[in-house]
Symmetry: C2
Subunit: 200 residues, 2 copies
């Protein structure tokens, strides 16, 4: 019965499609999408190229699924943050700031995986780029909406400022790793910008 899960080595506890996607996420993010071949992904997923191609018709399809999964997860994280504090926009802002702090302080940060994917794929206009662009636009629109509900003046301008600071920080953290550098000051800037709903 449940022997099936144990007879096979631990890898089979999770189906191959998930293993492939997991391996692709790791390798794509660490080494870049173009730099990783399908053989490497299959090997890292403890499977082979054929199984990969049976689940994803081509590398482009896999790339698209990878980008889509990242965007979906980011959307879900946002929804969770919002849902955790219903009808309390100020608390939602605070929770989002905590989430940002967690992201920025995460070691091994190599920037936004979606942004990196867009850079990797924008040359030969890959369909996955549209997913990234659409996600970034959703993100900005959600910030505007959140800041408007929280009662800030000029929510559009504020959202753009926060958005650019965040994007710039994730990009710059790749050069300035440590607590020195502009990225580390991001939280201070964001908290100052969002400290009071009424600002000039």
């Amino acid at each position: 019965m449940n022997e099936k899960s144990i007879s096979r080595s631990a890898k089979s506890a999770v189906p191959p499609r998930k293993r492939i996607m997991s391996a692709a996420r790791d390798l794509f993010y660490r080494l870049g999408i173009r730099a990783v071949g399908v053989d490497a992904i299959a090997e890292a997923a403890a499977t082979n190229k054929m199984t990969l191609y049976r689940h994803f018709g081509s590398k482009d399809v896999l790339i698209e699924a990878y980008v889509q999964e990242l965007a979906d997860e980011a959307d879900a994280r946002w929804e969770a943050i919002i849902a955790a504090h219903p009808d309390d926009a100020r608390a939602q802002v605070k929770a989002w700031l905590d989430h940002v702090e967690q992201v920025v302080n995460c070691s091994g940060e190599r920037g936004c995986a979606l942004a990196n994917a867009a850079v990797d794929l924008r040359g030969p206009d890959h369909p996955a780029v549209h997913i990234v662009d659409a996600y970034k636009m959703r993100k900005r629109a959600r910030l505007i909406d959140l800041f408007a509900r929280a009662g800030y003046e000029n929510p559009e301008v504020l959202a753009d400022e926060v958005f650019l600071l965040f994007e710039g920080a994730r990009l710059s953290l790749q050069c300035y790793g440590g607590p020195e550098g502009p990225g580390a000051r991001l939280m201070m800037m964001l908290r100052r910008l969002l400290s009071d709903p009424s600002r000039p």
Copy 2:
């Protein structure tokens, strides 16, 4: 005498090394470093692969020279801005803002070529990445120095804020092309931040 320059078709007016570097700059920026092969560069430079390899021992050397040239040019542009207004830090700030506006409004913007190169090459730690990192650190240090000389309070914090906004804008302009979107508001934010040397 000068017949040599005319006998050859117009391409020979500029030596092959310059043509190769020029072609590499265009293709690397538009399509990505990894996505462009040396054959394509040689063809775009109206020469062949052999001449390319006689001037640059390998593609990695060419990449390094490409990144170095970008960094050198950016350094030179900064020096020119500073030198154009000697002993007048406020005017230097204003001139730099004009330069930023010019960069941001330039069509066909595909983000900072150095940042894109770093994303492309950071996977397999390419020596050129260090050039990018060093340049970004110089850039931040120069902003701090400029703002300190201009009499702003907290020049480090201000420089980091300006730096992140600028980097984020160049990254985001790839998704939000037009005058809508966060990138377009960059100049407004920067001018507000730098409007008065004495700010909270």
